[in-house]
């Protein structure tokens, strides 16, 4: 921005220190992933990509990646559908009471995941959903709803209500108005919500630890077990791939937001 006060040296140093503090732990996995050693360490004699090769050749890693992907996709679908409908409903009704509904929908964000996980564990036991693909997808889908509600509500707040009136005034039914006017306008918000819901499921561990054991073995779960049981540098390679994937999704989100302007 022009016209603002220039940052002083102290402010600058603190800012950079914060950036480093946030980024260093993430970046450390990059050199570790190309180590030439057989255990988690920094490269000693040179760099090697064999851990990546290992990873991509390993049946169990690929299976985990695949499983995580499908669970994330399924739960994103649930979160987007439920979250979008909820946000639009609250927006249309527009009464005080809908604030309460919205607050309720944000609960999964507020309640500690571990508390939620204990509750789910009990319920899923009786519903026979433990250690099943469907159970994990449902759990991730429900906990992903807040992200969608937030982004879609934000998009709707910027939506000119006269556009809806205009559409109805020209004879459009509720469905037509939704399909042709409201959804296209809030699509970027839905996309953002979908990306966040996907990432949420993609790196979720606590719930999975509670409600899955053998059949469902997501990527974070596999990394967790790997860290505890052996110190295979493949883990660092996985981490790097995860980072690349997440950054790509966030970049996509940024691009979508930029297009909305």
């Amino acid at each position: 921005m022009n016209g603002g006060y220039p940052a002083g040296p102290l402010a600058r140093s603190i800012a950079w220190a914060t950036v480093l503090y946030l980024l260093l732990p993430i970046t450390i996995v990059i050199p570790v992933s190309v180590t030439d050693q057989r255990y988690l360490s920094l490269p000693e004699h040179g760099i090697s990509f064999r851990h990546y090769a290992n990873l991509l050749g390993s049946e169990s890693w690929l299976a985990s990646i695949q499983q995580s992907f499908w669970i994330a996709l399924g739960s994103t679908l649930i979160a987007v559908t439920a979250g979008t409908l909820c946000a639009i409903g609250c927006w249309r009704i527009g009464r005080r009471s809908t604030e309460l509904v919205r607050a309720l929908m944000l609960l999964p964000l507020i309640i500690p995941a571990i508390v939620y996980a204990i509750g789910l564990y009990r319920w899923f036991g009786t519903l026979d959903l433990l250690d099943r693909f469907l159970g994990v997808t449902l759990a991730h889908g429900v906990t992903g709803i807040p992200y969608v509600v937030i982004t879609v509500s934000t998009a709707l707040a910027a939506f000119d209500p006269r556009l809806e009136q205009a559409a109805r005034g020209m004879g459009a039914s509720l469905g037509q108005t939704l399909r042709w006017v409201i959804l296209p306008r809030i699509a970027p918000g839905i996309a953002s919500g979908a990306i966040f819901a996907f990432i949420h499921s993609w790196d979720e561990l606590v719930l999975v630890l509670f409600i899955a054991s053998r059949n469902v073995f997501t990527l974070p779960r596999k990394i967790w077990d790997g860290i505890n049981e052996n110190l295979d540098p493949s883990m660092a390679a996985v981490a790097v791939l995860l980072i690349v994937f997440t950054v790509a999704l966030l970049a996509l989100d940024g691009a979508l937001r930029a297009r909305r302007q």
């Binding site: 556009l163 009136q165 205009a166 559409a167 109805r168 005034g169 020209m170 004879g171 459009a172």
Partner: protein, 366 residues
């Protein structure tokens, strides 16, 4: 746009309350087929609320909306088939001009070929055919306004509702579009209901003007009738400029009355008058007052001095201070003006007995 079927619209005792606040208070009016009605009033007088009640977006607290005699008060907006131009246009930003105009046709399930033909026709009507592929954000305010008009007209609605369609435009463009709107109204032969707080727009466009204040219909009539024969001080003041002369009735005759204001005696033509001894209020338009030269006389005369003046191009606006009638505003044509205005100049004002009109104080009119 052939076979013009225009609708007659009627409001019967329409009221809208928000809690204890009365936004619209028992408004009854009628627009005949093919007429251009303007709702005119200051901000907050209930114009938009009435229009929204006609469109079906606001449910009246009391009263009814009738279309060709049929009660449509309970009909939902999407089933009323009215064209509407919203304040600020409400064009769909994610659609092109052509897609915007095609929207009402798409809703009605017309085939693509039919749609294209009618969209082209509507865009031709507002002279925007060359802009069909643009987005609303790439158009000027006046062009957006015309797109909104085309979109409201394309499905051939029997009734067109316009909420301050020209308010966002600069003066010159507004004048141009006023002419266009008027020509359009004549061409399509539909019933138009327009909302504005611009009195010039109301006068120049409408067949009928309904003047609103505090949610009430104060007076309705043809523009000339309203301007020449305002019923209340509010109408006279809101529509154009006016001087208000306060006096006491002295004599009443068959063709007029005599008033006394201090030492000044006024004669006023007209038949219906208050009884002698009662106070009376006259509205006198600045352009109906002349400057009297030398021995010239008029039915009403008053002397004063110029307190202030302004040059407006076509004329001067003088404010003349008088002993008995306060400050009187006079519109003086600038071309071959009989005097060169300056402050403190003594002048004599004169006007005919039928120049002013008696009006009611607003409190008495209620």
């Amino acid at each position: 746009m052939s076979a013009p079927v225009a609708h007659a619209l009627e409001l019967r005792g329409l009221s809208k309350r928000y809690g204890s606040f009365i936004a619209v208070d028992a408004v009854s009016l009628r627009v005949d087929r093919g007429q251009f009605l303007t709702l005119l009033g200051p901000s907050g007088s209930g114009k938009t609320t009435i229009l929204m009640a006609i469109a079906g977006f606001v449910a009246p607290s009391e009263g009814a909306v009738l279309l060709d005699g049929a009660d449509i008060t309970g009909l939902s907006p999407e089933r009323r088939d009215f064209g509407m131009v919203f304040q600020g246009y409400a064009l769909f930003p994610h659609m092109t001009v052509a897609e915007n105009v095609a929207f009402p046709l798409r809703v009605r399930g017309l085939s693509r070929a039919d749609r294209d033909a009618r969209v082209r026709g509507a865009l031709d009507l507002v002279q925007l055919a060359a802009f069909a592929g643009r987005r609303p954000s790439q158009l000027s305010g006046g062009q957006q306004q015309r797109v909104a008009l085309a979109r409201a007209l394309v499905f051939d609605p029997a009734l067109l509702l316009l909420d301050e369609p020209l308010s966002a435009l600069d003066k010159k463009l507004r004048a141009e579009l006023q002419d266009e709107l008027k020509a359009l109204h004549r061409r399509v032969g539909r019933t138009f209901v327009n909302v504005t707080h611009d009195q010039e727009e109301a006068l120049s466009l409408s067949d009928q003007v309904a003047i609103l204040n505090h949610g009430r219909l104060v007076q309705m009539g043809a523009p000339e009738a309203l301007y020449e024969r305002p019923r209340t001080r509010f109408v006279a003041d809101f529509l154009g400029k006016s001087n208000f002369l306060q006096g006491t009735v002295r004599e009443v005759g068959a063709t007029g009355m005599a008033l006394q204001a201090g030492a000044t005696r006024l004669v006023q033509a007209g038949a219906a008058h208050p009884a002698p001894g009662r106070p009376a209020l006259l509205s006198l338009r600045p352009e109906k007052i002349g400057l009297l030269a030398g021995a010239e006389t008029a039915e009403n005369e008053v002397a004063g001095t110029i307190a202030s003046w302004a040059y407006l191009g076509a004329g001067y606006s003088l404010s003349v201070r008088t002993a008995d009638l306060g400050e009187i505003r006079v519109a003086l044509p600038a071309w071959r003006a009989p005097i060169a205005p300056r402050e403190g100049l003594p002048v004599r004002l004169g006007w005919a007995a039928d120049a002013a009109v008696p009006v009611l104080e607003d409190a008495d009119a209620a």
